[in-house]
């Protein structure tokens, strides 16, 4: 089999695998308006606990513990706090995914979808995933990467700004449609 045919064959296999994956039904897709539920879930945001996590991972705390208690105590505390930070990180990801899915629902309802905007969101998602994995690995190996954690929070923030703009536009469009409809109805009533 020459190289070109091998490429074609592999591409065919890849298409077949993607087709199976795409057609597989997921529980989320089976539930109607599943994504809209995320809007109601946004109350429980974990990103709010960043100051506490930051405090828990502060180097001063460990120095204090080591000086007043023992090095072993500081190590135990560090281990426990890293676990908390990891849990926080997972929750931050969950916050991001909720917003991301909500953004997709908004886009799917919008009569016009901008390719650039969608690609930008995809890029945001990829950036978030990459940073998330890097920070997680750092935590697992015993580092406390606070600046990275901060930039991860920024990704969530940027996404929320974009969502706000999108929602505002949609709201304005809905209001305009309602206004047009009511003015048309009014004209109809005035007509003898």
């Amino acid at each position: 089999m020459n190289f070109a045919l091998l490429v074609l064959f592999l591409f065919g296999i890849l298409l077949l695998l993607v087709l199976v994956a795409v057609l597989r039904d997921t529980p989320k897709l089976r539930r109607p308006n599943a994504d809209l539920g995320y809007a109601e879930d946004l109350d429980r945001r974990h990103v709010n606990f960043f100051p506490q996590v930051k405090q828990a991972l502060a180097a001063e705390d460990f120095t204090f513990l080591a000086s007043r208690g023992s090095r072993a105590l500081a190590q135990v505390a560090g281990k426990e706090r890293r676990k908390i930070a990891l849990a926080y990180l997972a929750c931050l990801r969950s916050d991001f995914l909720k917003l991301w899915r909500l953004a997709r629902v908004i886009a799917s309802m919008s009569p016009q979808v901008g390719v650039a905007q969608e690609l930008e969101r995809l890029q945001l998602g990829l950036a978030f995933s990459w940073r998330y994995e890097v920070i997680r690995i750092k935590f697992i190996f015993g580092f406390a990467p606070l600046p990275e954690l901060g930039s991860l929070s920024e990704v969530v923030s940027r996404l929320s700004i974009r969502l706000e703009t999108a929602m505002k536009e949609l709201g304005e469009r809905a209001a305009l449609t309602a206004k047009l409809a009511s003015s048309l109805n009014g004209r109809g009533l005035d007509t003898p």
Binding site: M1, A4, L5, L6, L8, F9, F11, G12, I13, L15, L16, V18, L19, V22, L23, K28, L29, P32, N33, D35, L36, A39, L42, D43, R45, V47, N48, P51, L99, R101, L102, R104, V105, A107, S108, M109, S110, P111, Q112, V113, V115, E118, L146, P147, G150, S153, E154, V156, S157, S160, I161, L163, E164, M167, L170, G171, R173, A174, T177, A178
Partner: protein
């Protein structure tokens, strides 16, 4: 006709029978009104079978005229296949104007990319096996474009009725198997391909029969009500969600910005 091996003739008969069942189902359940292009596609496939029987009877099975006529008739059904697929995608995405716009662009980009890829990989020797290469190129482009649309549908969590999914999946499955069969046979058999033509015929027909059974299952029940009626009016969703989400996002954003500023402050 008698020069074909018995297994090819049996598969041909099975395929024609399955197509007939699909046509009957389309008319008996009233689905032909919703899927006119798909109905035309299946009917054209049946007509092609009849046409080929006549051609093989008059011109024989191995003449150049027969081969050309057979491939020309295939072109007609392939065009009908593309139209039928577009029809189903349009039906599924009609309530989502924005996504439909995006899907069109995805279709164009994917098709252009795959056509370029096919042109590059088959450069040089495609004149000798013109029809074969064109057929595979078409199926590659078709499968990639439809899968791109299906990915888009999944990404935006758009609910597509199972019947439409099965029809689209059937089209893709057929195209994928065509790509694999053509590639494997071309690489394995090379110049001896014409001696092993029955293998190619049997395998392609078998995959088409499988797809026809999938379509029979999809069309067994009447097609669902128009998605436009099933989907709640988007304006009311916006009006209900917009102030709520805006408030929450603003709150989240402010908190994050404060955190970020705090983080950026030199310590």
């Amino acid at each position: 006709m008698s020069s074909f091996p018995p297994q090819v003739l049996v598969l041909w008969a099975c395929s024609a029978l399955a197509q007939l069942i699909v046509v009957i189902l389309l008319f008996s359940k009233g689905s032909f009104r919703k899927l006119p292009f798909f109905t035309v596609y299946v009917a054209l496939n049946l007509c092609q079978a009849v046409f080929l029987v006549i051609v093989y009877s008059i011109c024989g099975t191995s003449s150049e005229t027969t081969k050309s006529l057979a491939w020309y008739s295939e072109c007609v059904t392939l065009v009908a296949q593309a139209l039928a697929t577009t029809e189903i995608l349009r039906l599924a995405l009609r309530p989502y104007q924005g996504i439909w716009g995006l899907a069109w662009r995805a279709l164009t980009c994917t098709s252009a990319f795959v056509v370029l890829m096919v042109a590059l990989t088959t450069r040089g020797d495609w004149v000798t096996a013109k029809w074969f290469e064109l057929n595979r190129g078409y199926h590659l482009t078709f499968a990639a474009a439809v899968i791109a649309c299906l990915l888009l549908i999944r990404y935006y969590s758009i609910q597509v009725p199972a019947a439409y999914k099965m029809i689209l999946g059937g089209f893709c499955l057929y195209s994928c198997t065509e790509i694999l069969i053509n590639t494997v046979l071309q690489s394995l058999l090379k110049k001896a391909f014409y001696d092993y033509q029955p293998i190619w015929q049997s395998s392609t027909m078998l995959s088409f029969i499988v797809v026809l059974f999938v379509w029979v299952a999809a069309l067994w029940k009447p097609l669902p009500v128009d998605a436009r009626q099933a989907t709640p009016p988007s304006d009311s969703i916006y009006q209900r969600l917009s102030p709520e989400i805006n408030e929450r996002l603003r709150e989240l954003n402010e908190k994050l910005l404060r955190l970020w500023k705090m983080e950026a402050r030199p310590q």
